[in-house]
Symmetry: C2
Subunit: 613 residues, 2 copies
Amino acid sequence: MVQSHGLAYSRTRQVTVRKPTPSERHRLVDAAMGRVPVDLLIDNVRLVNVFSGEIYPAEIGIVGGFVAYVLDGVTTEDKPAYPAAQSHIDGGGALAVPGFIDSHVHIESSMLTPANFARIVIPRGTTTVVTDPHEIANVMGIRGVEFMLEAGRNLPMYQFALAPSCVPAVPELESSGADFGRDEMARMLKLPGILGVAEVMDYKGVLKNSPRMSEILDLAIEEEAFIQGHFFGDDPRELAGYLCGGPHSNHEFMTGKEALSAVRAGMTVDARDSSFTRDIAAIVGGLEGLKSPRNLTLCTDDRHPGEIRDAGHMDDCLRTALAAGLDPVEAIRAVSINTAVLYGLKRLGAIAPGYVANINLVDNLENFDVQQVFFEGMRVAGSGQLHVEIKTAESTRVNTIEIENTVYLENFSEDRLLIPAPIDEGEVDIRVIRHLNEQTALTELTVEKVQVRGGHVSLDGRPDLNYIAIFNRHKGNSNFSVGLVSNFQLPDGALAGTVSHDSHNLALVYANTRDAVRAVNEVMRIGGGTAFVRGDELKSLALPVAGLMSRLSAEQLIPEVESMNKALKMAGLQADHPVMHLATIALPVIPSVKITDQGLVDTEKQVFLDLFP
Amino acid sequence: MVQSHGLAYSRTRQVTVRKPTPSERHRLVDAAMGRVPVDLLIDNVRLVNVFSGEIYPAEIGIVGGFVAYVLDGVTTEDKPAYPAAQSHIDGGGALAVPGFIDSHVHIESSMLTPANFARIVIPRGTTTVVTDPHEIANVMGIRGVEFMLEAGRNLPMYQFALAPSCVPAVPELESSGADFGRDEMARMLKLPGILGVAEVMDYKGVLKNSPRMSEILDLAIEEEAFIQGHFFGDDPRELAGYLCGGPHSNHEFMTGKEALSAVRAGMTVDARDSSFTRDIAAIVGGLEGLKSPRNLTLCTDDRHPGEIRDAGHMDDCLRTALAAGLDPVEAIRAVSINTAVLYGLKRLGAIAPGYVANINLVDNLENFDVQQVFFEGMRVAGSGQLHVEIKTAESTRVNTIEIENTVYLENFSEDRLLIPAPIDEGEVDIRVIRHLNEQTALTELTVEKVQVRGGHVSLDGRPDLNYIAIFNRHKGNSNFSVGLVSNFQLPDGALAGTVSHDSHNLALVYANTRDAVRAVNEVMRIGGGTAFVRGDELKSLALPVAGLMSRLSAEQLIPEVESMNKALKMAGLQADHPVMHLATIALPVIPSVKITDQGLVDTEKQVFLDLFP
């Protein structure tokens, strides 16, 4: 069973956790009873037992994809006799823990395809992810969800998905490539690999019993589907109201107080360390002293590929949780049995007879370095390296979608980049989106006096201001809007991109229209992604898969992302991840003012604002 | 919402845990947000929070059948304002705990119908039971299972069922009224109210991959159905083998060592205190020091009505667990959230927003006296008394089956009660079932010399021996067998009964054939049950519902059972529950020798024995 480096991984399409066939079940029983040898024996390990809460020396017998038996290695005197195993691995005293489960992740945020995502997270010990393909759903609708499910199969890890519930995020204020209601949700809930409803972001809609949220939630409750939440704060009425509305979990808590309120209320807290916010330490602090809350999981939400390479994935979340003082058994439970129970994933989340043999060997509780990774009983990674070859998908649908150009910009023309003013010449008040600072997506509304030349707003002499335009880039939709942003820190040139949460329209920030046209043309040429133009300088990052993901491996992509970020920093953008700055300018659920393809939005009041007050 | 004494309970048929309708969900959200008042506020309680593991003062707002909010009553300064509730109950400082869930019970063992069982256990705080209708299934097949499901609906408690997996218990050695294989299991798993597969008693069949167990287990795994176990001991190979075979749980553990092995192996331990064996204290002792094992539940398995009246039901199990030193939060978890998670019962097992409002108020952790019981937000019992009227079932099927006579004894005649000997006159060796003592169902095989008169075995001058006969009492089956039993302690008369595990054939122990004929006639007359005849003395206990249950209430039935037991003790039977002695004589899974409708059985070797060696 031990695979040599480079062996191709291939088996039946994973749409559920692996189940033993009748003959596999017979062989498992035979091996457990000692009538036939196990395929693989892993001995000399210390088992973290997520059931009993103990850590003790053990030996693990594996048959096919499953654990046949776990022997307590201490009490050797009454150790039952077993025939010699087919193969054997000495764990060298390592901790044996269940393969890690990420309770909430958007693979699109890694800019990697599902297969390339697998290649980089598996060596970190992540053997199961519960994804929300919300981003691609906004671009491609249910086809995008099906693509992610299909591309996530035949991998040496499980990639399950939840059905995106809020597409677009705020239907009255923006247009994306799809519009999901009850019918779409009903269709998606029947797709193999879908575990329930993904994060119900429109939490205000839930609290006010909005028609869209009601039709989706009532359907989910009728079908007893799991409903993932997306909630902010610790207001006791809103917390109770949201839970009464249907969602079960939340990954947006940022303080220990919020997390404690939620745990008490029975909401599962998916404690998150993403590339944008690290909340695990605070949450662990807030839950100190509780008696083994079962409703705690860890997740990554959104992680850039560079961060996965440098800091890690679920192993990094665990290190953070342990350093923050979480009991080691509780920390392991939060990435295994708790998450498996939350999603009803049978045979996952523990190392025990009959469970799927997803097992990590970890050096110790301090470094928490994942030494070896087993998936369905196969050694798939070791010492940070993948040990199996992940083949390119053979599915026609996967290959077709990966090369499909999703950037439709028939509505784009240079003359639309200028802002028509209500006067021909002179000075006028205009509403401006002001970025608070480079570390946040938060904005505030300001009103500025600007010059008008020939009937259009002019930014001559105003390096503090930039134009901003959002062009709907989805087929058959010609919406666009244009406005001004301040403190974006782009004194010259133009930045265009198709990663623009959550509708993923084309977002464009520019100091002049000539560079803007070239940036947009470059984005169209590369089939989506990001382009920066300043005079003769042109720098782009191709994300041709739905305009969100690259087809490159992490090793190839990370230097390109870094090079792009460097160029943007040179151009004046000071954010840690300058590209992400552009990506949130059109997100109408973030305070206080944003711009969508339909116009300037007061995101607190959820209403449009006229550009000229 | 508070119901006055005697109000009839009636609502939509409960085939699943109650789900909010769209309008109920809206009203719940509105109430949680403080926009409308709750129906009922229970305040001045100390909440046992099964999520956080804490116990703290709280207030519980209820709307319809659900919890709308739970307020932490300590921090009054930031307590949100809510409109005054429609009604209000002062908890008087009581503990508020989730309604108790019994993880494994045979209602038939109470000799009460599902409705009468409900009447006696609800005041004890049991609001949900997961039953195994194994007994009635052996008599009536799937019709019996459907009857129990249907009779268990429209009650102010949940009675869910598992599908009996071993009917008959040992197919090669006995005949019952049904024979379940893969097809029957497939049909039952589709019945509303069925949560999975009931106790897989044929554990040896599982360990040797027997065809019958394989076809049932492979089906259950294919359908991802829950599989309840039935396992003995702590042999590591057998434990692993059984878990690899499919079952998830077990209620047969009797020692702390067994329970610890099982918890470590991921098997759920359903710790049991039944009328026959009390295992909870030992199991709690064996799990001492573990960090909050989730795979522990409590159950009653088989309880006589008198014991429920005198000692209690799940409240009694909890008192035992607490007295044995189980942490109070863990004890409450073992009758609530642990059990709900085991069976996938959403919205049950906790007092939290959106959960079904099944709530008990309990005086304190020492007495653990259940003061008030709420089911789906309705006060259904208080101070040990039922507060709602449970109406007779309106279902035609329920009424038809309750009065159906299931005792078919066309094969019975007096001449069959004598044992034909291989000689006409003289002395002969004969195999005899020897009861070890009056407290156990265990037996051993002995060989005795007996007299033969006119070609038949004679017991003249042998008051230590009794005849024993088993007549198949199911339609279309004329099997019968006859033999001898010693140490049964029936010096005179005859005892006949239709409660005879698990095939529930007619079991008959007698000193002479004249009394035996009268006892059998009486059992036929009353439609099943138990009859004792000694000369002119005739005492019977009618159990006309499938020959297993009475239609009387517990209050009416208990004195009859007591009177019957008293008469049997006067006749010489010294067991605590003399009727049960008869009930296990034909059970071919109990060591060492039993007699079925097909003959004398060596239950260790699972083979028939000739009567004359």
